[in-house]
């Protein structure tokens, strides 16, 4: 047993050190850390691109080659506990208004009482707003406490970063676009605020940022993933219900997720080609 524990610790330490090597240093550099940290970041990035290899244009992000990544997102709905830390983290990380009508990511609750019709609610629901109690918190109320629940589950939702995004198709200015590494982003300095993209998104992932008067949505925390970090919602999920990773990496959590599960996407009939893959969702989920 002693041996086991020691081994545990060692592995844990090594994992943490590995994590630190790239992400921790990136954070340190970001916070204006010293030269050492920056050197570590440079090292990490040097190891990414083999020396001497003449690569094509590495893209517009300094120190990061967007042709070498292709991101995807997995959601294991069977693990979601509906704690809504993801919704809070998404807002915190991206300065989204803390009210129940603007979400980068949110969670839906599906419930069937006495085998009847499936009832769905989310953070815009009166009961849930009341249960949260204050605007900067989100919480599901206990509405099914005394009911005979035949089936209930939670489904996290976010922007699907589609392969053929309807929102990008309709944008008149090119203020929203798909990057080489798979994220659909919005140029807040270029958006004219016509809101056509909000109409075009079949998933309701987009919202209007009234403060900036432009459209806003989940970016998979592009500023984090280009530094090697996970999106904020993945970072905080205590139930490992959210999986994020790089399809071009030799090994990644999302590749395992796609390989080991029969995955589904939402509304495949729209032809958008979503890149958020679900397992454990029911027929009502769309």
């Amino acid at each position: 047993m002693e041996d086991e524990i020691d081994k545990d610790k060692l592995v844990g330490r090594r994992e943490i050190l590995g994590m630190l090597g790239k992400t921790g240093a990136a954070i340190a550099a970001l916070l204006g850390g010293g030269e050492v940290a920056q050197a570590v970041v440079a090292q990490a990035q040097a190891s990414e691109t083999p020396a001497g290899a003449v690569t094509a244009d590495p893209g517009p992000v300094p120190g990061y080659d967007w042709t070498k990544h292709k991101y995807a997102f997995g959601v294991d709905a069977t693990r979601c506990i509906g704690c809504l830390r993801c919704a809070v983290a998404g807002k915190l990380e991206n300065n989204v208004a803390f009210d129940p009508h603007h979400f980068r990511t949110w969670v839906e609750r599906y419930g069937t009482v006495d085998g009847g019709e499936t009832l769905i609610d989310s953070q815009n629901d009166e009961g849930n707003i009341k249960a949260a109690g204050r605007p900067d918190n989100y919480r599901f109320d206990d509405r099914y406490a005394d009911a005979n629940v035949t089936k209930a589950f939670f489904v996290p939702k976010l922007c699907n970063h589609c392969t053929r995004p309807a929102c990008v198709q309709v944008c008149p200015t090119g203020a929203t676009y798909k990057t080489e590494d798979g994220a659909v982003l919005i140029d807040h300095e270029y958006c004219i605020g016509c809101r056509y993209c909000i109409q075009a998104c079949p998933y309701g992932a987009r919202f209007f940022n009234e403060e900036k008067q432009v459209t806003d949505k989940c970016t998979w925390c592009y500023h984090r993933i280009t530094k090697g970090l996970n999106p904020a919602c993945v970072e905080v999920c205590p139930a490992s219900a959210r999986i994020f990773g790089d399809l071009k990496a030799p090994q990644s959590a999302i590749k395992d997720f796609i390989r080991d599960n029969r995955i589904q996407v939402l509304r495949p009939d729209t032809g958008n080609g979503p890149n958020v893959f679900y397992i454990g969702i029911d027929k009502e989920v769309l």
Binding site: L30, P60, L92, E93, F140, V149, A152, Y222, H223, S240
Partner: protein, 267 residues
């Protein structure tokens, strides 16, 4: 061609040339670099500040708490969940959570829809008026020694609570001194574990059919104890009873040792 038409055409050409010229002047310089968008905006977006720090960031500032946290069952719950966004400074001071019960029940209130693998309690039944922190250390929430004595005092008074067997589990886990910790063979346990994986899965490595709780992130003590309870019938179960009955005491220890290895516990 009449003079007025010639002049009109001239004017039209002037307007068109002027418009094309103005467009040339006003198009953002990085616009068509990679496609129909401003390439600079990708740079701008990627340079936004990180607010939700990875927990590893805090390790050097709070090494003791960090070690407790990584060694406990709450290691999947990142610092930011309870302590708020990134704090910058020589020694980042984290927010102290205000309403502990509200915070804990965010994840642990019993709820239809929460997967079985999630420990859930009905607060009134589980703790009465006790505050969570009386018995639990939030960084490693299996029962503390104070908690253990409280549970022992109260377990006689109120037996058979029907909520998740968390009190049970933690009581035992926190009392390794009393009972001898099971020592098993990891390799033998791994061989034997194939049967379990169908229903329970294995951490993030293999996903089961979700019929049973996730065995990753469980301690060896807890797994061994529960298997023995199934064997003795103390914890009645149609499925697990016969399974446990087919196991020898050594096999139970092997399984427990295997499920507690880091390979299965990996997040």
């Amino acid at each position: 061609m009449p003079k007025h038409i010639a002049r009109f055409l001239g004017l039209l050409i002037l307007v068109i040339v002027g418009a094309v010229g103005l467009r040339y002047l006003f198009v953002a310089h990085s616009y068509y670099k990679y496609g129909s968008y401003r390439a600079d905006s990708v740079t701008e977006i990627s340079a936004l500040p990180v607010q939700v720090a990875p927990s590893s960031y805090y390790q050097s500032f709070y090494p003791d708490i960090f070690a407790t946290w990584t060694g406990g069952v709450h290691k999947a719950v990142q610092c930011v969940v309870c302590h708020g966004p990134l704090k910058v400074g020589a020694t980042p001071k984290l927010d102290k959570p205000q309403n502990i019960t509200e915070l804990c029940t965010t994840c642990h209130a019993a709820f239809p829809g929460r997967p079985k693998s999630q420990p859930q309690v009905v607060v009134l039944k589980h703790a009465g008026r006790q505050v969570c922190l009386n018995c639990h250390n939030p960084h490693s929430p299996l029962l503390t020694s104070e908690g253990k004595s409280i549970v022992e005092d109260e377990s006689e008074a109120a037996p058979g609570s029907d909520d998740f067997n968390m009190a049970d589990a933690s009581a035992v886990a926190a009392a390794p001194a009393k009972k001898k910790a099971p020592v098993g063979n990891v390799v033998a346990g791994q061989k034997k574990s194939l049967l379990c994986l169908t229903c329970h899965g294995l951490g993030n490595v293999i996903r089961g059919n979700n019929a049973g709780p996730n065995l990753g992130a469980q301690t060896a003590e807890h797994i061994a104890l529960e298997l023995r309870k199934f064997q003795s019938g103390k914890r009645p179960s149609v499925v697990m009873g016969p399974v446990a009955n087919g196991l020898s005491s050594d096999e139970i220890n092997d399984l427990a040792a295997y499920f507690a290895t880091s390979a299965t516990n990996k997040r």
